[in-house]
């Protein structure tokens, strides 16, 4: 606990938390220029679902198509290498070792990411992708491959893993990705059609209550009371299972000052279990809830624990239900929307929750009898990258809303009177900018999972209790989280689809 601490301004350039903020904001601002006609970051490499390996990757923006797949990959690597090396040097890491290790990590991670996008693995609609079957894991399978390769290196090639560790910095990478995630969520909020927004907005509040006040409390209690986990483990685990997986576990770890290994281990469980959910939950939902399609969609948003997997589950449910029951054709788009909206609401609240946890931990949990706690301690604990998350969220939200209003005004109509095409056109430049941010976000997410694998030594994980952690995760997720999610989705979404069928 703090004792008469002074503000340490050097943390602005010496701490990983702040460097995630600076790096994320820099990339955000540079990408945002695209919305104003200056496409300076469109070269960022992006992987696509592929059958032909030649089309597996390429620049995000067509303006940089001349670079080709390899050119965009090299430019992306070079720019990220320069930016991260500046940060590494400021934080006092060994520069030459960082440069070499980052390069190897980047190449291996990208290989995994591209393999994960193979149509047989990733395509959620095999016919559309031109393959007879698919594991339907979405491109997020690349995260799993990155994690597995990292784990192999970390446990069977320990000398190599030690060499890589100078640049294997999962917390830095994931925090940078979360800053960019704010923008990705921010553009979705004003693009939800207004007639649905009001209805869904309301139901989004229910999702927040459910995830933060019911799931979190129950998982925390189960982990503490029945599995004997310490607070340091129980809180990030509760956030990981209940909220938005990886981002929430990392933010919680910062707020309660957990050791770095804690949110990292929770994150690796989140991504594995999200894929498990993705493989069976959409089929269960489509099979049993076809009479209540929006309940099925919302259930995916509440039960599946990573953004990508939740949206993919929503898409699968929609495709399965409308495919079997054509009478629900007017609901096309709305079922996914139910999943996306509930997930967005849960995501938005992460920063607020990190703040609440920091206050609870400072004033009640870790405060010793008679000890006076400085208010500044809350600031020290508050994960700084969350500020970046909120900034990017609100900037994109406000700019996109203003663009939609301005476009409508130029046509002499209100935003409500825009056609679907006009509505899309009104914020298309921002969509392009956020698309580039999203490409960077995915790269940082993939780098995170590879790095998690590299630094995860099984013997350490065993000592810390990864087996029991996985058991708690399994019991909570399949024991009550998905069923409470189903109950509440049912209570708040049943019969709402009638609105769209009238």
């Amino acid at each position: 606990m703090a004792k008469e601490r002074r503000i340490d301004w050097s943390s602005l350039w010496k701490k990983e938390d702040w460097w995630a903020f600076w790096l994320g904001m820099l990339l955000f601002i540079l990408c945002l220029a695209t919305a104003y006609g200056m496409d300076i970051m469109g070269w960022v490499v992006k992987a696509s679902t592929w059958v032909d390996a030649g089309k597996a990757m390429g620049p995000t923006s067509k303006a940089y198509a001349y670079l080709g797949p390899l050119g965009s990959f090299i430019v992306t690597w070079l720019v990220l290498l320069i930016l991260t090396t500046i940060g590494a040097a400021a934080m006092g890491w060994k520069r030459s070792r960082f440069v070499a290790a980052f390069t190897v990590i980047f190449i291996l991670t990208w290989m995994c990411w591209v393999i994960g996008h193979n149509a047989y693995i990733a395509a959620t609609d095999p016919q559309k992708a031109g393959v007879p079957w698919s594991l339907r894991m979405t491109g997020e399978a690349g995260y799993i491959f990155a994690l597995i390769l990292g784990l192999i290196i970390g446990n069977f090639f320990k000398g190599f893993a030690n060499w890589l560790k100078e640049a294997a910095k999962p917390e830095w990478f994931i925090k940078t990705a979360i800053v960019l995630l704010g923008a990705v969520v921010g553009i979705k909020a004003p693009t939800i059609p207004p007639e649905v927004l009001y209805n869904y907005l309301f139901r989004g509040l229910c999702a927040i209550v459910e995830a933060y006040l019911i799931y979190w409390a129950l998982v925390y209690w189960v982990a503490r009371r029945y599995f004997g986990f310490s607070r340091e483990w129980a809180a990030p685990l509760a956030s990981g299972i209940s909220i938005c997986g990886v981002s929430a576990a990392i933010a919680t770890g910062g707020a309660i000052r957990a050791r770095p290994i804690v949110p990292i281990m929770v994150s690796s469980l989140v991504i594995v279990f999200a894929v498990v959910e993705l493989l069976f939950l959409p089929f269960l939902a489509a099979g049993t809830l076809h009479a209540q399609p929006l309940v099925a969609g919302a259930w995916m948003g509440l039960a599946v624990k990573t953004d990508g997997a939740a949206v993919a589950s929503g898409e699968l449910v929609e495709a399965l239900i409308i495919g079997h029951y054509p009478e629900y054709e007017p609901l096309k788009g709305w079922i996914v929307n139910a999943a996306v909206t509930t997930k967005i609401f849960i995501d938005i609240f992460i920063g607020v929750w990190a703040f609440i946890l920091a206050v609870v931990w400072v004033y009640w949990i870790e405060r010793r009898p008679g000890e006076k706690v400085e208010k500044l301690e809350i600031w020290y604990r508050f994960p700084k990258f969350v500020i970046g998350y909120f900034l990017t969220f609100f900037i994109v939200f406000l700019l996109t809303s203003a663009a939609i209003n301005a476009y409508a005004a130029s046509l002499g109509v209100t935003p409500l009177e825009l056609t679907k095409e006009q509505f899309k056109a009104s914020f298309a430049p921002f969509n392009a900018a956020v698309g580039e941010m999203d490409s960077f976000r995915k790269i940082f997410f993939a780098l995170t999972f590879f790095s998690i694998g590299v630094i995860s030594d099984f013997s350490t994980l065993r000592r810390e209790g990864i087996g029991r952690l996985a058991l708690v995760y399994f019991i909570c997720l399949f024991g009550f989280i998905i069923w409470i999610g189903l109950l509440i989705s049912w209570l708040f979404f049943h019969d709402v689809h009638q609105l769209f069928l009238r």
């Binding site: 006040l213 019911i214 607070r231 708040f492």
Partner: protein
């Protein structure tokens, strides 16, 4: 009690000691005074119980209110 290993303190970043006490591992930082159980059982504080209970009660109340408003809305549509 015996010394197990050193690890950076999550609170101040200085090197802290991890000591084992029975089946528990405890992190102790001489620099900032942080002491916490990292492996093994840690006493559940009364405030933890209260916060968990308060959270669940608040959730039920809020969901009740939201449910009531929700159905009022749908009835009007």
């Amino acid at each position: 009690m015996k010394m197990a290993r050193d690890e950076p303190c999550p609170n101040c970043g200085k090197i802290a000691q991890i000591v084992t006490e029975g089946d528990r591992e405890i992190l102790r930082c001489a620099a900032c005074g942080t002491e916490r159980v990292i492996v093994g059982r840690e006493e559940i504080l009364p405030i933890e119980k209260k916060l968990v209970a308060a959270s669940l009660i608040l959730a039920l109340v809020l969901l009740g209110i939201l449910y009531y408003i929700s159905w009022s809305m749908i009835a009007h549509l």
